[in-house]
C-alpha cells in the first residue's frame, strides 16, 4: 500500500523552509547596517 503523507506534513515542511528564508532575510537586515557603517565610516 502506498503511503499517503498527511497534508499537514507537506504544509509544515513548506512553512519550515520558508521560515529559514525568513530568518535569513531578518539576519541580513540586522547585519546589513553593521556592514554599511563599517564601510561607510572609513
Amino acid at each position: 500500500m502506498s503511503t499517503v503523507i498527511p497534508r499537514s506534513y507537506v504544509v509544515f515542511r513548506a512553512l519550515m523552509g520558508t521560515a529559514v528564508l525568513a530568518i535569513a532575510a531578518v539576519g541580513l537586515l540586522l547585519v546589513a547596517p553593521l556592514v554599511i557603517s563599517l564601510f561607510g565610516g572609513s
Binding site: 503511503t3 499517503v4 503523507i5 498527511p6 499537514s8 506534513y9 507537506v10 509544515f12 515542511r13 513548506a14 519550515m16 523552509g17 520558508t18 521560515a19 529559514v20 528564508l21 530568518i23 535569513a24 532575510a25 539576519g27 541580513l28
Partner: protein, 561 residues
C-alpha cells in the same frame, strides 16, 4: 659555459621573483573579496537549500526514508514503546503523529545531514585538486610550474572554499537552531492546548455520566475506542495527544476527530478499547447509568427488573422513548411484554448487560440493567466474574423479607397466605458480603457509591395492617428490617455506605400498583445519584428519603441523600 650557467641562474631567480610577485599580488587583491563572496554564498545556500530539500519532488525519496509513519509509531520508534496507562498493552494506534515535534525533528536532522555532507565535500575539494595537480607530473615541471600554481591556489581557492564550508555549517546550525526553538515552543503550546482540551472533554463527559460500559468485558471508560470509517482500523486512544490535537490522521489517510463527543456526532462505530468488541454507534455517547442487582436465589431480582422495565416503558408516554438497544435487552423486553412467566435466571456463563435507551422529552440516556443468578452471590469466588458491579455508582441490594423468620411469623400470625410466591433461599448477609468484601479487598471505596436496599414482595407485607402503607417512607422500611432480624446486616450496610435508601417494592403485578412501591422509583433514585435529568416518575418526590437509624436502637453513621 660559466656564462650560460650564470644566465640560467639569473633567469630562474627572475622567474621565481616574477612568480612570487604575481602570486602575492593576486592573493592580496583577490583574497578578501573571495572570502567575502564565500561567506555570502554560504549564507544564501543555507537559506535556500532547506526549502528545496523539504519541498522539492527531487528529494522526495530521501525524505520518505525519514517519515514518522504509523508503522513506525506502532513499532515504538517515534512515541516510545507504548502509551502510558491502561492501553499500554495494546500499543499505539495506527495513526500519523503530530508534525511538531516528531516529523519536524527528523526533517531537521535530514537537512543538517545534507548540509554536513555538502560542507564536508567543499572542505575536501581543494585538497583533492592539490593532490591531483601535484600528481600531474614530476621532476622540474612539478617544482617550477605546478608547485607555484598550488601555492597560488591556497589563498584564492582553498581558503575561500574552506571558509564557505565552515560558514555553511555555522549558518545551517544557526537557522536550524532558531527553528528548533520555534518548534519547541509550538510543541509546548500544542501539548498544553491538547491537555486542556482533553481534560475539558473528560470532565464534561464525567459530569454528564457519559461513560462506556462494555457489556462483554464489563470495563468502563470515559474514552471509547472508535473504528475508522474508511479502513475499519481501531483507534483506542482517541483523545488529544501525540497522534493529533484537533484531528487525527488514520494510517489510511482519513481524518478522525480527537474527542468522543465529535466522534459520536459523526456516527463512528464504537469499539471497546479493552476487548475490541463492536458496540454500535451510540455506546458511551449518552448519559449512562448501570444498575446491578445483588441478592440471593429467589429474592425477586428478575421480577424487579421486569416490573421496572414495564414501568419505565409506561412512564415515558408518547413524548418520551424507551427501547431495548442490545440483543440481551431485546430478549428480556420481548419476554416481559409477552406476559409469560419469567424463568429463573440461569446460573451459566457471565451475566448479560441489558441496555435500554430512554428519554422523557429530553436527551436520550442509556440505562444498563444487569441481572445475575442468585447462585453467583454466595462467595468471593462466585462473584469474582461480576466485575460490572465494581463499576456501578449505585448498587441495588434486594432482600426477600420472607427469608426473615420474624417476618414469616408475623405474616403467619395475620393469616397472610404466600400462595405461589417463591421464597428466597440463602442468606441476604452472605449475598451482600460476597460482593462487598471482594470489592473492599480490591481496595474499592464503598463510601463513594450509593446503595438502594429494596425489600421485595411488599404485596404480601402490606396485607399486615401495620405495614399497609409500607414504602411511603424509607424509615418504615428500615424499621421493618431492623426489628425483624436484619439488624446486624443493616449495621454493616450503614457503616459501609455513606448514601443509602430503603425501598419496598411490589413487582408481581402492576395493576393498581401504588407509586411509592413501584420498582421504577428505585431506578429514578439510581438516576438521581448520578445527577441525571431523566426521571420516570418525575412528578413524584424521590421518596422514600434516606433515613438515619433510630437512636434508641443502634448508632449508625450519617446517611445522605
Amino acid at each position: 659555459m660559466p656564462f650560460f650557467i650564470l644566465l640560467a641562474l639569473a633567469l630562474l631567480i627572475a622567474y621565481l621573483f616574477a612568480l612570487g610577485f604575481v602570486i602575492v599580488a593576486v592573493s592580496t587583491v583577490a583574497f578578501v573579496p573571495l572570502v567575502l563572496l564565500a561567506a555570502v554564498a554560504a549564507y544564501l545556500f543555507a537559506a535556500v537549500v532547506p526549502l528545496v530539500l523539504l519541498t522539492s519532488e527531487r528529494w522526495a525519496q530521501p525524505r520518505s526514508a525519514n517519515l514518522t509513519t504509523p508503522a513506525e509509531v506502532v513499532a515504538g520508534n517515534v512515541l516510545g514503546a507504548a502509551p502510558r496507562g491502561e492501553m499500554a498493552y495494546h500499543g499505539w494506534d495506527h495513526a500519523w503523529p503530530n508534525y511538531f515535534p516528531y516529523q519536524a525533528q527528523r526533517d531537521f536532522r535530514f537537512v543538517v545531514a545534507v548540509m554536513t555532507r555538502v560542507s564536508r565535500y567543499f572542505l575536501v575539494l581543494p585538497w583533492r585538486w592539490v593532490r591531483a595537480l601535484w600528481n600531474k607530473s614530476d621532476g622540474m615541471a612539478r617544482w617550477l610550474w605546478w608547485l607555484p600554481i598550488i601555492i597560488g591556489m591556497i589563498p584564492t581557492i582553498a581558503v575561500p572554499l574552506t571558509f564557505f564550508a565552515v560558514m555553511l555549517v555555522l549558518t545551517s546550525a544557526l537557522f536550524v537552531g532558531v527553528l528548533w526553538v520555534v518548534m519547541t515552543v509550538m510543541t509546548a503550546i500544542a501539548r498544553l492546548f491538547g491537555f486542556v482540551y482533553g481534560s475539558t472533554e473528560r470532565a464534561a463527559r464525567r459530569r454528564a455520566s457519559k461513560e462506556l460500559l462494555c457489556p462483554h468485558c464489563y470495563r468502563t471508560t470515559l474514552i471509547p475506542g472508535y473504528r475508522c470509517a474508511t479502513c475499519g482500523r481501531t483507534h483506542r486512544l482517541l483523545s488529544p495527544g501525540p497522534l493529533g490535537i484537533l484531528t487525527r490522521t488514520c494510517e489510511c489517510g482519513s481524518k478522525l476527530p480527537t474527542t468522543a463527543t465529535r466522534a459520536a456526532a459523526l456516527g463512528l462505530d464504537v469499539v471497546c478499547p479493552y476487548c475490541d468488541q463492536d458496540l454500535g454507534t451510540t455506546a458511551g455517547s449518552r448519559p449512562t447509568t448501570l444498575i446491578p442487582v445483588i441478592g440471593s436465589v429467589g429474592v425477586g431480582k428478575t421480577t424487579f427488573f421486569a416490573s421496572a422495565v414495564v414501568g419505565m416503558n409506561e412512564s415515558v408516554g408518547s413524548e418520551g422513548t424507551f427501547a431495548p438497544t442490545n440483543p440481551a435487552a431485546h430478549q428480556f423486553y420481548g419476554l416481559v411484554e409477552s406476559g409469560a412467566v419469567l424463568p429463573k435466571t440461569a446460573y451459566a456463563g457471565r451475566p448479560e448487560v441489558m441496555t435500554f435507551e430512554a428519554s422523557a422529552r429530553g436527551e436520550l440516556h442509556d440505562i444498563q440493567l444487569v441481572d445475575a443468578a442468585g447462585e453467583f452471590f454466595v462467595t468471593w469466588e462466585t462473584t469474582r466474574e461480576l466485575t460490572y458491579i465494581d463499576s456501578a455508582a449505585c448498587w441495588v441490594f434486594i432482600i426477600d423479607p420472607l427469608t426473615l423468620p420474624d417476618v414469616r411469623d408475623k405474616l403467619d400470625a395475620h393469616g397472610v397466605a404466600l400462595g405461589s410466591t417463591v421464597v428466597g433461599t440463602g442468606s441476604a448477609g452472605d449475598a451482600y458480603s460476597s460482593v462487598s468484601d471482594r470489592f473492599k479487598q480490591g481496595r474499592g471505596e464503598l463510601k463513594s457509591k450509593s446503595l438502594a436496599i429494596v425489600v421485595s414482595k411488599a404485596d404480601l407485607l402490606t396485607q399486615v395492617p401495620e405495614w399497609a402503607e409500607l414504602g411511603t417512607s424509607s424509615r418504615a422500611v428500615r424499621e421493618l428490617l431492623f426489628e425483624h432480624g436484619a439488624d446486624n446486616l443493616l449495621r454493616k450496610l450503614e457503616l459501609d455506605f455513606a448514601t443509602l435508601a430503603y425501598f419496598a417494592v411490589e413487582a408481581q403485578s402492576r395493576d393498581g400498583l401504588p407509586r411509592h412501591r413501584d420498582p421504577v422509583r428505585v431506578v429514578d433514585w439510581a438516576l438521581a445519584q448520578k445527577r441525571l435529568r431523566l426521571s420516570f416518575l418525575g412528578e413524584v418526590p424521590l421518596e422514600p428519603q434516606p433515613v438515619a437509624a433510630e437512636p434508641t436502637t443502634t448508632p449508625v453513621p450519617t446517611i445522605n441523600q
